[in-house]
């Protein structure tokens, strides 16, 4: 299946471009992330290691921004001030305040020419609506020659958009300040932690069936603790077992993973994939379940026994592991606790601290796993499902996984590689922007220098 080959070659194209262009971020289909979406980076690799917010609203391509038609005209520079003042009175550019009224065009070898926006024009090609009479007066008294041209309709949201806008007609641009659902960017410490967990995720992806380069890590960011981790557990004709690769709470975070040597190995492997050099590696690409989830239903020739589960994508298995952990740590807080919640409107009979899930989190933070087991579950914070937790994924998740994480109430999702054909967080669908859902997580793409173009070595 060439799907991954295709994807990887695309990525490497971008990595190459990124490498050459320094701070310019990769742009991929609708999953565009321009430089201004840049939130944070370590000081070490300011231009390489980045956390990019993938917003709920689909960004438009900078080159295809919606436009609006206006009447414009060449104007004598000496009349410019008077005319603009007059036009601002009689034909203000309502809701188009980002537009500059005047456009200075440098003509080769000649004097610059000034153009002015007179007023809005009809959007309908066939119907030519006349200009308002007082604009008409201005046109006549200054011998203007009106023509219809296009300008950008909306304020630029990024520098890149702004640069494109100015090719049509100059606009003003103010870089945004970030406040994403209460997550106001990442400070140095936070981003360090994000990169560290993401590197652990990549380590994990390699540690499993190294042919299926996919993994998920659920993390409690406040405690800095891994809640659950998993690799893809779907079928593979390379594997003779279907044993779950979940390692709840036992996965050691490798702080020392900075050498880049291992990462270079990944890069090399994936380069092999993209070049299609190795038969063996070529066969394995479909094992990244989120990339081509339909693969299972299309194998009409595979007669090997089915010891597999086509839906056990890494994120699904990780959710299962976190649920198992919860049942293990809080065995008796099932229905009784829930009933207690209902009762709490009348009185609070037992241990009200239990309800304050975040207040008692310090216990977990300081005590860690050992403590959690020895203490009675009553005194422990127990978040509802994965509320407050983050998930780290190698790939942008497919629709099933993305929605599963909505159900399980994940707070933030970080991924490294976009999934252009099946991704549900910007590529094909954009669940983080589906207003009807009862929960939304913030989505970030993590750009790692380790997954840079291999020539970097």
């Amino acid at each position: 299946m060439p799907s991954l080959l295709y994807s990887l070659s695309v990525y490497f194209g971008f990595w190459a471009a990124q490498h050459k262009l320094g701070a310019v971020l990769p742009v991929l289909g609708s999953n565009r992330s321009v430089g201004e979406a840049y939130l944070s980076s370590s000081t070490m690799n300011k231009q390489l290691q980045q956390i990019i917010h993938i917003p709920p609203n689909p960004p438009v391509s900078p080159t295809s921004q919606p436009t609006k038609k206006v009447y414009a005209s060449l104007i004598e520079p000496k009349h410019a001030n008077t005319v603009i003042r007059r036009l601002n009175q009689i034909a203000p550019l309502q809701n188009l305040q980002h537009l500059k009224r005047i456009h200075k065009k440098q003509i080769q070898g000649g004097k610059p020419e000034l153009f002015v926006i007179l007023c809005l024009a009809s959007e309908n090609e066939t119907q030519s609506n006349p200009m308002p009479s007082d604009v008409e007066d201005v046109v006549n008294s200054y011998n203007l020659t009106p023509f219809i041209t296009e300008v950008c309709k909306h304020v630029a949201l990024s520098k890149k958009e702004w640069e494109e806008q100015c090719k049509l007609w100059p606009t003003s641009y103010h870089p945004p300040t970030y406040n994403i659902h209460g997550i106001t960017g990442f400070n140095e410490e936070d981003s360090k932690s994000v990169f560290s967990f993401m590197k652990s995720t990549i380590e994990l992806a390699k540690s499993g069936d190294h042919l299926s380069f996919s993994a998920a890590l659920i993390v409690d960011p406040l405690a800095g603790q891994i809640i659950a981790s998993a690799c893809d557990d779907v079928c593979s004709w390379h594997m003779g077992t279907n044993e779950a690769k979940t390692k709840t709470c036992h996965f050691k975070q490798s702080e020392g993973f900075t050498s880049g040597a291992d990462a270079n190995r990944i890069a090399r492997d994936t380069t092999l994939l993209s070049n299609g050099l190795s038969d063996n590696l070529q066969k394995c690409d479909t094992t990244v379940s989120c990339l081509n989830p339909w693969q299972f239903s299309q194998q009409s020739l595979d007669t090997s026994p089915c010891y597999c589960h086509p839906l056990r994508h890494a994120a699904i298995v990780a959710i299962e592991a976190s649920a198992a952990r919860d049942r293990h740590l809080f065995p008796c807080s099932g229905h009784s606790e829930k009933l207690y919640e209902v009762d709490s409107t009348h009185s609070s009979p037992s241990g009200s601290p239990e309800k304050r899930q975040r207040v008692t989190l310090e216990n977990v933070k300081n005590g860690g796993e050992q403590d959690a087991n020895t203490k009675s579950s009553d005194s422990l914070a127990r978040p509802y499902l994965c509320t407050g937790y983050d998930i780290y994924l190698v790939w942008e998740p497919c629709t099933m996984c993305a929605m599963a994480l909505v159900h399980q109430r994940i707070r933030r999702l970080f991924y490294v590689l976009p999934n252009p054909e099946a991704g549900a967080l910007g590529s094909v669908h954009r669940l983080q922007g589906e207003k009807s859902l009862n929960h939304h997580y913030a989505v970030f793409r993590v750009v790692l220098p380790e997954l840079e173009f291999p020539a970097e070595r």
């Binding site: 060439p2 299972f296 026994p305 089915c306 049942r327 629709t399 054909e421 859902l437």
Partner: protein, 185 residues
């Protein structure tokens, strides 16, 4: 045929009632192949503390385990799914609709629409196959399935209603910060 449909949906409703008896959100389903019920499932999210354990996922797991025990090949399992019809009391959510499309299921009948999470027309339309203008090897082929809603919808809705009226004891609270929670009470 119509009476068959109703009979199968009755079985799904029965599953939903079992869910409700266990204080789970009342959704149930059955898988039909060649006119036979081959698996049934009900919502089990509270018991498992895993919000992805919807009725469909439960039934799919039962099927996969069964077929694996029977030593069926992947090709046969894939073929079986392509002959399965699902009856579920509520429109499959986005997650389940995606899963059903991944498995290449033949057809789905559902009761009431799922206006918050529905993946078969309400929010996304994952059941409708995206026929690309040309099929390229490089693009994964998405699978759709036939989907019909509104089968015994009122029964499904009344189950939901009685469940929430009894004050959903499994309500996912507290899932907001403490301050807001106080304000709510």
């Amino acid at each position: 045929m119509e009476s068959d449909n109703l009979a199968y949906m009755e079985l799904a409703i029965h599953q939903a009632k079992l869910a409700m008896e266990s204080l789970e959100v009342p959704v149930g389903c059955v898988f039909i192949m060649d006119g036979n019920v081959i698996a049934s499932g009900r919502n089990r999210t509270t018991e498992t503390r895993n919000a992805t354990r919807h009725a469909e996922m439960e039934a799919i797991d039962i099927l996969l385990e069964k077929w694996q025990r029977d030593g069926l090949s992947k090709a046969v399992v894939a073929k079986n799914f392509s002959q399965c019809v699902l009856y579920v009391t509520c429109e499959p959510c986005i997650m389940c609709a995606a899963a059903l499309s991944f498995l290449g299921i033949k057809e789905v009948y559902y009761g009431c629409a799922n206006e918050k999470f529905g993946g078969c027309g309400s929010i996304l339309s994952l059941h409708s196959s995206f026929s690309e203008p040309f099929i390229s090897d490089e693009i994964p082929q998405r699978k759709g399935f036939k989907c019909t809603g509104g089968l015994m919808a009122s029964e499904a809705v009344s189950l939901f209603r009685s469940f929430y009226e009894q004050g959903n004891p499994n309500a996912p609270k507290p899932h907001r910060p403490l301050v807001q929670e106080k304000a709510e009470r």
